[in-house]
Structures are given as structure tokens and as C-alpha cells.
């Protein structure tokens, strides 16, 4: 395979810029201009769902009412994703800078970092950063206070409405949307919930300008993104790359020359088999020919020694445990998919039963209440359809 090097980008972890200076400069601009800049940049949420960030801020900005909130979603739980931990560890002040920007635009006075329990070891470092950050806020004469809010272990709380429920002292069960959090969020008030990485990009767009950001990637999927790379790769880790690469390019650089599949977007994402590497791009659907797959950054590579049955089994166990149990399609569906593939593997059910299971996965996509239940079918269908024999024999 050709070793065509993918261009590295250095925005997120770049230390040759002062977060405080960027912020000071940005806070002198009119709010509307900042929002316009973000919309122009094409930045979409980097947690995986991909909602346009500028638009989200605009919606919260236009809400009336004196009490609003900004929440940094640091409940990174998607299997194969570990970039947010590294961002908070290395450049946490940039995250806070992004939050300050969001608070300035939307008039929020209070902010929270919802940090997953598994990252408790970061607390002392984050508390030091918060102290420094609050001194800056005083210097800028800005009334904005950020607190840490700890999660207690629930994958579904990465979904913004469950995260909010959890912060309100409830079970982390997703809400129906609408109303969206920008309209009625934490304690019923307009709330901006952004992923850790997204917040850093908002600040960096202020630094480099939206046109420069837009010049990277492709139409509809502009800019760069952090990729968390794991599995069968000689160089696992975190890499910032432009959106729009093909999986062929990706595997040429990060694979071990034996990749048979790549899981794009974690357990809730899609599994792409080798024959589709060349036609599959990383980014949002629409801008390029062929398939485009979005990702919150999780890229897991499987080589030919791996059983895709075991991979799928691991995902389904994960979903079965993490389903909040609120809606039936997800609660029962996850259990039945898991039992179903086990029964086929043991030979208790015929291979045609896989088609029933595919229909169940499709039903879950249509009827589950939130992104968790809706996306179980992504990995299920893409693995069963592409590696059917491995499910049976």
C-alpha cells in the first residue's frame, strides 16, 4: 500500500498561542459577529452528533430570560474515544476559554464541566485551572463562574438531555426533543451543551479566522478533528487530521497492512469492510461522492485475526448494560439482539434468523427514544451484513 502521509493539523494542542490573549481580543467583538464567524466556519459539534455550533449559540443567544447556562460535555464514554481526556489534561484552559466565549455570546453567568467519573484523577488539575480562569474573568470584568459536576458512570449521560437530567438529580434518562436544551435545558433554562473538543475549536476559530478553518476539510465537513485511534494499529493514539480523508488513506497510514475492517464512530458507529475503504470518506454525508461517515473521533481497526462475531458481541453487551431502560425498543431490543446472535452462533436458530434481527435493529432505529437506541442498529447491521458468515460459523 502507498504510504501517502495524511497532513497533520495542530490547533487543539498547539501551545504557541495564548488562550488569554485570544479571549481578550474576542471579547471586544460584538456577539453577533462571533456567531457569524462560527456559522461561516462550518464548525459542527465534535462529540459525534454534528450539530452546527454557531447555530446552537445563536439559538441560545436569541432566547429571552436572564438565567442561562453553558455546559461542557466531558462525559466521554463512546468505546474507542479518549481525546477529551487528553484535551482536558493538556489544554484545559482552552476549553474554559471556549466556555467563556459561549457565555459572552449567550449571556450565561454559570457554567459546568460535566466530567465522567472515570476521569476523577483529573480533578486536582482542573481545579487549579478553574482558579486561574476565574482570576482572568475578574480581570476581564466578566461575571461568569464555572464549576465541576461529576458523573457517576452512565454512558447515556453523554446524550445532552440525559446529562441535564443527571445534573438535576435524576436518573440519566433522555428527554423528548423538542424542546431542545437551547430553549429549555438545565433547570428549564436556555442551555448550551458543547463537547470538550468543540469548545476548543470555537476559541481557535477566533484565533485563526473562520476562512482559514473553512479552507480545511470539504463542503459540509469543514476543518479538522481529533481522532482516537486504537485496535490493530502500530501507532495507537490521538491525531488531529483534516476531515474528508478516505478510509483507504487512513488505513494506509495507521493500519498494520492487514486491516479487514474499521469501526468509525465507536460502538454506535459503522463498521466498514476492506472492500469499501476506497469509497468511504470521514465526514458528514453530502459533500463528497461515495459514502461519508461522521465520527466523534473513535477509529478502531480490526485485522484479519479478529472475529467480528466477538466484536459485535462485545458491543451488544455494552449496549445492553448501558441502555437506560426507559423505552422498550432499546431496553428489550438490545437484549434480544444479543441473545439472537448467540442463538445463531450455537446453531439453535437458523441463519435466516439474522434477517429477523436486522429488522429488529431497523425498528430500533425508527422507534427508540434517543441516540443510544437508534444507533445500536448502525454497528449491528453493518457488521451482520458485511460479515454474515462470521456470525454463523
Amino acid at each position: 500500500m502507498a504510504k501517502q502521509k495524511l497532513k497533520r493539523v495542530d490547533l487543539i494542542f498547539s501551545k504557541d498561542c495564548s488562550c488569554k490573549d485570544i479571549l481578550a481580543k474576542a471579547l471586544k467583538r460584538p456577539k453577533e459577529e462571533i456567531v457569524k464567524d462560527l456559522i461561516n466556519s462550518g464548525l459542527k459539534g465534535r462529540g459525534g452528533a454534528g450539530f452546527p455550533t454557531g447555530l446552537k449559540w445563536k439559538m441560545a443567544m436569541e432566547e429571552k430570560g436572564s438565567k442561562k447556562y453553558v455546559i461542557c460535555n466531558a462525559d466521554e464514554g463512546e468505546p474507542g474515544t479518549f481525546k477529551d481526556r487528553e484535551i482536558l489534561d493538556q489544554v484545559g484552559l482552552k476549553v474554559l476559554g471556549g466556555m467563556a466565549l459561549a457565555s459572552y455570546v449567550t449571556d450565561a453567568r454559570e457554567g459546568f464541566i460535566y466530567l465522567r467519573h472515570e476521569y476523577r484523577f483529573l480533578i486536582p488539575k482542573l481545579e487549579m485551572m478553574l482558579e486561574k480562569f476565574h482570576i482572568w474573568m475578574e480581570e476581564f470584568d466578566i461575571d461568569f463562574h464555572v464549576e465541576l459536576f461529576m458523573g457517576s458512570g452512565a454512558y447515556v449521560c453523554g446524550e445532552e438531555t440525559s446529562l441535564i437530567e443527571s445534573m438535576e438529580g435524576k436518573r440519566g434518562e433522555p428527554r423528548n426533543k423538542p424542546p431542545y436544551p437551547t430553549n429549555q435545558g438545565y433547570l428549564g433554562k436556555p442551555t448550551v451543551v458543547n463537547n470538550v473538543e468543540t469548545l476548543v475549536y470555537t476559541l481557535m476559530i477566533m484565533h485563526i479566522g473562520s476562512d482559514k478553518f473553512k479552507s480545511m476539510g470539504f463542503e459540509g465537513s469543514t476543518g479538522s478533528k481529533l481522532f482516537s485511534i486504537s485496535g490493530d494499529t502500530p501507532k495507537p493514539g490521538i491525531y488531529e487530521l483534516e476531515l474528508g480523508m478516505t478510509l483507504h488513506q487512513f488505513v494506509s497510514e495507521f493500519g498494520d497492512n492487514d486491516a479487514k475492517a474499521v469501526q468509525v464512530g465507536g460502538a454506535s458507529g459503522f463498521c466498514v469492510p476492506r472492500k469499501r475503504f476506497k469509497e468511504t470518506h470521514i465526514g458528514y454525508q453530502g459533500g463528497l461522492k461515495g459514502f461519508s461517515l461522521p465520527t466523534g473521533g473513535s477509529m478502531m481497526i480490526f485485522n484479519s485475526s479478529r472475529s467480528m462475531y466477538n466484536v459485535l458481541h462485545n458491543y451488544l453487551e455494552f449496549f445492553e448494560e448501558e441502555s437506560c431502560g426507559q423505552c422498550t425498543p432499546c431496553r428489550v431490543g438490545c437484549q434480544q439482539l444479543l441473545k439472537g446472535i448467540e442463538a445463531v452462533k450455537r446453531g439453535e436458530k437458523s441463519q435466516k434468523y439474522l434477517d429477523d434481527l436486522l429488522r429488529l435493529a431497523e425498528t430500533m432505529k425508527l422507534t427508540a427514544k434517543c441516540g443510544l437506541g437508534q444507533s445500536v442498529g448502525n454497528s449491528f447491521s453493518s457488521i451482520v451484513e458485511n460479515f454474515r458468515e462470521e456470525m454463523i460459523y
Binding site: 457517576s152 436518573r171 440519566g172
Partner: protein
């Protein structure tokens, strides 16, 4: 070293009371309260749940419903140190099973059990965000990565020396 029943009661009351005092009685503070009590007492007993409910003016069923939703709000007695081995895909591919077997062997317990000296509880968990350095585990709040059976055995020995 035995505490009297009254002393144990007082300690429990003060843990719940102190947490509610610290955060306030509003519903939105329920998670921090549960987290604090859990940390202090090592797990949340039925009577802790009832006391938190009474202090915050909520029903016990509601508080139990919330507590039971979250993996790390333990509702059963745990050892002094809790080991959580990641079992999700990337760690699994790098041999998390061997790590679990090593731990079971070293500690002479199975998943979900606590050592007879009360030093360790051994549990599994879903992705803890160290997929590029698997297999990984948490002991209490501290992550341990790139594990091998030898490394695990050294880590456990260190704990016994403490």
C-alpha cells in the same frame, strides 16, 4: 477495634448530614450528595438511602431509583480498594481477559467479590477512555494502563505494602 452501634450510627448520620449541609437540600444536589456519602462510607446502604431521602425531603424510592442508575454509586459493601477492569473492545482485543484472570488468581476471588481481608473488590466496567493503552483498569480513581500480568502483580503487591 470495635465501634459501638451508637458510634456507628452517629458516623453515618454525620456523613449524610454533612453532605446535605455542604450542597443544600435542593433536588439538583442529589448526585453530589450521593457521591459524597458513597465515598465516605464506601457504599450506600438502605439506611443511608432513607436518611438522604429524609434530609432532602424526597422519597426513599426516588433516591434509590437515582442511586441504582449509576455504575459507580455502589449499593453493596465494597473492599477498601475497588478494582475496575475495562472489558470494552479495544482493551478486550489487547487481552483484558488475561488481566482479569491474573487478578482473580492473585486475589483469590472472582469478579464481583471482595477479598476476605476487605482490601480489594474486583469488578468489570465499560470503556474507561484508555483504548490506545489497553488493557487498562482503574483502582479507585487512579488509571493503570498498558497492563501485563507482571505489571498487575507488582501493582497489587505495592498496595499490600502500604
Amino acid at each position: 477495634m470495635y465501634e459501638t452501634k451508637e458510634a456507628r450510627m452517629r458516623k453515618r448520620e454525620s456523613a449524610v448530614h454533612a453532605a446535605v449541609q455542604k450542597y443544600g437540600k435542593e433536588r439538583k444536589n442529589l448526585l453530589p450528595v450521593l457521591q459524597d456519602v458513597k465515598r465516605f462510607k464506601n457504599y450506600l446502604s438502605r439506611s443511608d438511602i432513607s436518611e438522604i431521602a429524609a434530609e432532602m425531603g424526597l422519597s426513599s424510592a426516588l433516591v434509590y431509583g437515582v442511586a441504582s442508575f449509576y455504575h459507580f454509586l455502589d449499593l453493596e459493601p465494597r473492599g477498601q480498594n475497588i478494582i475496575w477492569v475495562c472489558k470494552t473492545i479495544s482493551c478486550y482485543m489487547k487481552g483484558s481477559n488475561d488481566i482479569m484472570l491474573t487478578l482473580e488468581d492473585l486475589l483469590k476471588i472472582k469478579i464481583g467479590e471482595t477479598t476476605s481481608d476487605g482490601k480489594f473488590t474486583l469488578l468489570e466496567t465499560n470503556c474507561i477512555g484508555w483504548c490506545h493503552k489497553g488493557p487498562a483498569m482503574l483502582i479507585n480513581d487512579q488509571p493503570y494502563t498498558d497492563l501485563t500480568p507482571e505489571k498487575v502483580s507488582n501493582i497489587i503487591n505495592e498496595f499490600y505494602k502500604k
